[in-house]
């Protein structure tokens, strides 16, 4: 336990720690603790400008950890599956049930019938639930699992194709060097893209940067900083980018020298843009028809972006969670190259991932899971752009339910009979929640390791109650960027009979007769995880002080700029692509011979875009942005957060009036996948023809199948793009008064 530090009274301990939500920040917080209760939260107390200031989510940490609906004891199902009725059982009984079912499934169907569903609900080095479970099931003979992450696969594919790297971001203070910042589908006021990101953006504006927001919504970031809002229909970003390239090429505004020096394949892209490839000149007028953005605006935007140096085109991942999402990130990167902004302070590389290589979660140490015997005879997928290879032995995460329903006959890697799920709420957070309901009712056994009765946990036959980060010790990192490292210090003893995932897996290993599963104590593990990670040992001298302070900040002599070295000295620093250059034309993509993955970035029509004939019946495009008062579906039950923003569907006043809908009216939003019921928010902040439901509200179908929790994914598609992006923002819906 963290050494006590008293500054508020004798019996109150102050514990320096952080949370482990699936958040882009890992902000230092101070928990005031007495009698195994968190009393209140204070933020980081470092002097400015070093302060890493937490947001409302961690401000409500007390109500999350001590929530009355937390699972404190093992439970078994007593009602029908999906009803969420449970009764308390002992750990012995819980382990007996689990092992009995696990062994039965393995004996009857083989290891491949065991589906392990993991996720990002709490991401840390040691207590990373999915890794403990994978380690266990690997030693048990294997299992089938999923590939891909819901957030960012489009951006990952685009960055790997274009740059051969996922570290495409600048440290956020570099925005102070920008003269123009284009927020293209990026709303950091809601979605924490690294601690203090919104603050740095505000300061960049105060420093004189011009800021343009391109988005279907006039979101809170735009409302705070943007000089101009350019509304755009969902899924059409790439068309506008292509038309901007068209203007630049025709007016010779692009940086030819930069393109010659650092890129390959620009001419092929230019041929497409100018219509030499397909006879369609991709002019602003062409893009205006598609996107709803006025041709004159596109023209002006192209000239302004090309002429203002340095300029940061900030694409992100939301528009990439769509039916051809990776094209948006690739095209953004291509514009960054055409304007010579890659590798330059105040510029940007695009790619949507925004990661920097200091304190990045991708480089976090973790307990070694070992190899999955089920995957040993599969293809080598490391670094591949071919998503078809990735789904030979794994299930794309956004098709989990279909895989359960269709199995091998449907082309999936196995016939799933049981699921063990942790660190996720996939019923809620991947596409098509009603299909999840059908799929999970078909399985023979479901165990869920959880803290809360989530939409997914409601389908469990068995619940393992898991500790929160306040009850554990660990190291953690924000997913996109440091530059800092944080520590999770145990603030309270485990509540009720909760155990960590590692303890649960270790107990199961012992009962299964798996030897040597967990050879270390928690403290030993932490020391090993620290010492085995070169980033820690490079930056941090004093392990004990790091643990006690809970944070180590890295002083950067200058902002981190992605590909600074490649641009400064290309001879000695090739890009990590096959050609050593930025690949506007990718031979590897061409070799895929997949029309969904063209070698150059392209705008392509897709199912459920606004030109689909389905739009006759469902004329509104649905987008599902991040919530402000949750981290995805985590924290959904926390009252202090819930009351800060009512869950309502954003609809333009014009669309609402045409349907007889007034503000706050209960409405039904529906398509062929489902119907959700929630109040309407009439606003001028979303363009006509588009509606928004913030993701993460918990799926709660009533007896008629209407989702009263209004989970956005009741309406979204369980599909993925050519580059593997989850298709969360390409759905057509209709709205009517309830």
């Amino acid at each position: 336990m963290n050494p006590p530090e008293s500054d508020t009274g004798s019996d109150v301990r102050v514990v320096r720690t952080t949370s482990t939500y699936d958040c882009g920040g890992r902000c230092p917080i101070k928990l005031h603790v007495r009698d195994n209760q968190i009393l209140r939260v204070e933020g980081d107390d470092a002097p400015e400008p070093h302060q890493l200031r937490t947001c409302l989510r961690c401000r409500a940490y007390k109500q999350y950890v001590h929530h009355p609906e937390r699972f404190l004891y093992p439970q078994k199902r007593v009602g029908k599956r999906g009803e969420g009725k449970f009764e308390r059982i002992s750990w012995d009984e819980a382990y007996d049930i689990f092992i009995r079912e696990l062994n039965r499934i393995k004996k009857t169907y083989g290891n491949e019938a065991i589906l392990l569903a993991t996720g990002g609900a709490y991401l840390a080095s040691l207590h990373n639930g999915g890794l403990a479970a994978s380690r266990l099931l690997n030693q048990y003979g294997g299992y089938v699992t999923h590939y891909g992450n819901i957030s960012s696969e489009g951006a990952v594919w685009a960055s790997l194709t274009q740059y051969g790297s996922v570290m495409v971001g600048h440290s956020r203070e570099d925005m102070m060097n920008s003269r123009l910042i284009i927020l293209w589908g990026w709303d950091p006021a809601r979605m924490i893209s690294g601690t203090n990101t919104m603050y740095h953006l505000i300061r960049a504006k105060e420093n004189g940067a011009r800021i343009i927001a391109i988005d279907p919504r006039y979101h809170d970031t735009a409302a705070t900083v943007a000089h101009e809002w350019i509304p755009i229909y969902p899924g059409t970003d790439t068309a506008v980018m292509v038309a901007m390239a068209n203007v630049m090429i025709k007016e010779n505004l692009h940086d030819r020298q930069f393109l010659d020096t650092y890129t390959t394949g620009f001419d092929a892209f230019a041929d497409y843009v100018l219509g030499k490839e397909d006879g369609v000149d991709k002019t602003p007028a062409w893009a205006a028809e598609i996107s709803g953005v006025d041709a004159g605006v596109i023209d002006r935007l192209a000239r302004e972006y090309a002429a203002t140096k340095p300029a940061a085109l900030m694409d992100c991942q939301g528009p990439a969670r769509s039916a051809m999402g990776e094209q948006y990130n690739r095209c953004a990167s291509t514009l960054c190259a055409m304007t010579g902004n890659v590798g330059r302070p105040g510029g940007s590389a695009g790619g949507g991932l925004m990661g920097i290589p200091v304190g990045h979660m991708f480089r976090m140490s973790a307990i070694p899971p070992g190899k999955n015997p089920f995957e040993l005879d599969g293809p080598n997928v490391k670094g591949t752009l071919d998503i078809r290879l990735r789904v030979k032995k794994r299930i794309h995460v956004n098709t989990l339910w279909d895989a359960i329903l269709e199995g091998k006959d449907g082309g999936y890697p196995s016939d799933v009979k049981m699921m063990w799920s942790m660190c996720n709420n996939y019923v809620n957070q991947i596409g098509n929640s009603n299909k999840a309901d059908r799929a999970l009712k078909q399985l023979e056994f479901i165990a869920v390791s959880e803290l809360f009765p989530t939409a997914t946990a409601r389908y469990a036959d068995l619940i393992f109650p898991v500790t929160s980060a306040a009850e554990r010790n660990d190291f953690t990192r924000p997913w996109p960027s440091g530059p800092y490292f944080t520590v999770v210090n145990e603030a309270i003893n485990p509540l009720g009979e909760c155990k960590s995932d590692l303890e649960i897996a270790s107990d199961l290993a012992e009962r299964l007769g798996i030897e040597g599963f967990n050879p270390h104590s928690e403290e030993e593990w932490l020391k090993i995880l620290f010492e085995n990670n070169p980033e820690y040992t490079t930056h941090i001298d004093d392990y004990e002080a790091f643990r006690k302070k809970g944070v180590h900040r890295v002083d950067l002599p200058e902002p981190i700029v992605a590909f600074r070295d490649q641009i400064a000295d290309p001879e000695n620093n090739p890009f990590p692509t096959p050609s050593g250059k930025i690949e506007i034309y990718s031979r590897r993509a061409a070799d895929l011979d997949n029309p969904a993955c063209p070698p150059i970035p392209k705008y392509m029509p897709t199912a459920e875009d606004r030109f689909d004939s389905l739009a006759g019946q469902y004329p509104l495009q649905l987008i599902t942005p991040h919530p402000r008062n949750r981290v995805h579906s985590e924290l959904y039950l926390v009252p202090w957060l819930k009351e800060t923003e009512e869950h309502r569907v954003w609809i333009n006043t014009r669309d609402a009036k045409a349907r007889g809908i007034e503000d706050r009216d209960e409405v039904l939003v529906c398509n062929e996948r489902g119907t959700v019921s929630l109040p309407a928010f009439l606003t001028e902040r979303i363009m006509p023809g588009v509606v928004a439901i913030f993701e993460g509200s918990w799926y709660q179908p009533d007896e008629k199948g209407v989702d009263r929790g209004a989970c956005a994914n009741t309406l979204t598609r369980d599909d993925y793009s050519g580059g593997g992006a989850c298709v969360m923002n390409t759905s057509l819906v209709e709205i009517q008064k309830a």
Partner: protein
């Protein structure tokens, strides 16, 4: 001396971290009692929209009309720092008194829980934190650094004398202790 707040409306994203931090520090349950509120304004029509937020704690007015309106004199303006406090023990309760303080206040600062005859409570400038040399919790919680607090004279020297903003009108009668950098269209 008069303590007061500074609000940089141009930096506020409407996130409500201030509201949550306030409830956490003072252990106020979710519900109608909000010592710190965030008011929303949306004007114009697509695509020419104006959006702003306005924080709304107690402004610790120079002339607190709530105190004058309170029948049992449960509300006090502290001489040393101008902070307006309430003694819940003396307060008659919302139902018995009819919430005269709330009716008098132009900013809806007096707050009541949902319980029967709730006693009035409200922003007390985090007096306990002030004694430890800390700023109010809402100020520390604002991750866009849109809030500050301190002696009003010092705030005026640092930030000017803005007093009008969308969602707020400075009452000449009560003289709220706040400086605002207003957001304009």
């Amino acid at each position: 001396m008069q303590m007061g707040f500074y609000f940089e409306q141009t930096r506020c994203t409407g996130c409500r971290a201030c509201q949550v931090a306030c409830k956490d520090w003072h252990d106020v349950p979710a519900g109608p009692e909000n010592w710190m509120r965030v008011l929303y304004t949306e004007k114009g029509s697509f695509p020419d929209v104006f959006v702003s937020y306005m924080v709304s704690p107690c402004w610790h007015c120079v002339s607190p009309v709530c105190a004058e309106a309170c029948p049992p004199s449960a509300i006090t303006k502290r001489a040393a720092d101008g902070i307006v406090t309430v003694d819940p023990e003396t307060c008659l309760g919302k139902d018995e008194c009819g919430a005269k303080c709330l009716k008098a206040c132009p900013y809806d600062a007096p707050q009541f829980g949902p319980e029967q005859n709730a006693r009035m409570r409200k922003c007390n400038f985090c007096l306990d934190r002030l004694e430890q040399g800390k700023v109010p919790n809402c100020v520390e919680a604002c991750y866009t650094r849109a809030l500050d607090a301190g002696p009003l004279e010092e705030l005026r020297e640092k930030y000017g004398s803005g007093q009008e903003a969308e969602g707020f009108s400075s009452s000449k009668r009560t003289k709220p202790a706040v400086i605002i950098k207003a957001k304009t269209a």
